[in-house]
Amino acid sequence: MAQQSGMLDDESIYEAGRELAVAKRYGEAITVLSLAADKTDPRILNYLGFSHRMQGRVLVGLGYYREALIQDPSYVPAREYMGEAYLQLGDLGAAREQLGQISLSCGTTCSEYSRLSAQIGLFLKGGGWSPPEAADAVGVSSENAL
């Protein structure tokens, strides 16, 4: 397995890991993303966080998001997911704080803001967090959608 790490560049690893995570193949996503040469790439850290969180290890997920944000505080996809993680933990105040941080980076019309805002709305209505239904509703940031 180790020899694969030298064969693939981090871009391919990121793309494949993201696709696996969005397809809910979280364990495989973690395996692929762990192959990245640059362990501090916020995009890689973000999808490691997402995959661990979706497998139920919300605190591990939060750790990855925090590390991603240390690397790049303006990386709003990590803030969106971090807000979702806080909703999973029932911490509405912390989720709203991330929403506020997102608005400082990209305003209130970027997709990260709208999605987290909608999740908070659902949380308030339903009294809890539930994962977004559509695969394309998660994590395809505006830059990736281009």
Binding site: A16, E19, L20, G63, E67
Partner: protein
């Protein structure tokens, strides 16, 4: 294009190990320490280093991962520990946290420690390492909080207490 890449990756990563028959070394002599060459894992049952495959049990993965981490081979430790079947085993989470922390990703480390403590709040070794992580972040108060939690569980005589206490002392003295 992208789909082909994923299928290629998946077959390399997940089908590959199944094709590899366990190759036991024929050498006799004394039992090796539970630390193996890159790509191998110490099998506690056969007491040999075997190629890392999904067939290796979690105890062997834990032992090997811990030895690698203790030797400062953090990247390899993470690779091995990621193979554990039980992703909620606090021992595995603890050494994943330790290895990420020692590679400089302190916040990732903290996340693993927190998850380990969620599984087992009485796991005082995790609290010791977590206190060290908090010192790395300059948060003496949080480190002292962990010291207090350790004291509640095993007193002031256990090694987790004395080690974190001396780390805090050294930090405060500067």
């Amino acid at each position: 294009m992208r789909a082909r890449l994923i299928i290629g990756l998946a077959s390399m990563l997940f089908a590959g190990p199944l094709l590899v028959a366990p190759a036991f070394s024929a050498g006799g002599g004394t039992a090796p320490a539970p630390s193996c060459a890159k790509g191998k894992v110490y099998d506690t049952k056969s007491k040999k280093c075997v190629p890392k495959t999904s067939a290796v049990d979690d105890d062997s993965i834990y032992e090997t991962g811990r030895s690698l981490a203790m030797e400062g081979r953090y990247g390899e430790a993470i690779d091995i520990l990621n193979l554990a079947k039980d992703k909620t085993d606090p021992r595995i989470l603890n050494y994943l946290g330790y290895s990420h922390r020692k590679e400089g990703r302190v916040l990732v480390g903290l996340g693993y420690y927190q998850e380990a403590l969620r599984q087992d709040p009485n796991y005082t070794l995790v609290r010791e390492y977590m206190g060290e992580a908090q010192l790395q972040l300059g948060d003496v108060t949080a480190a002292r909080e962990q010291l207090g939690e350790i004291e509640k569980r095993c007193g002031k005589g256990c090694s987790e207490y004395t080690e974190l206490a001396s780390q805090i002392d050294a930090y405060v003295k500067g």
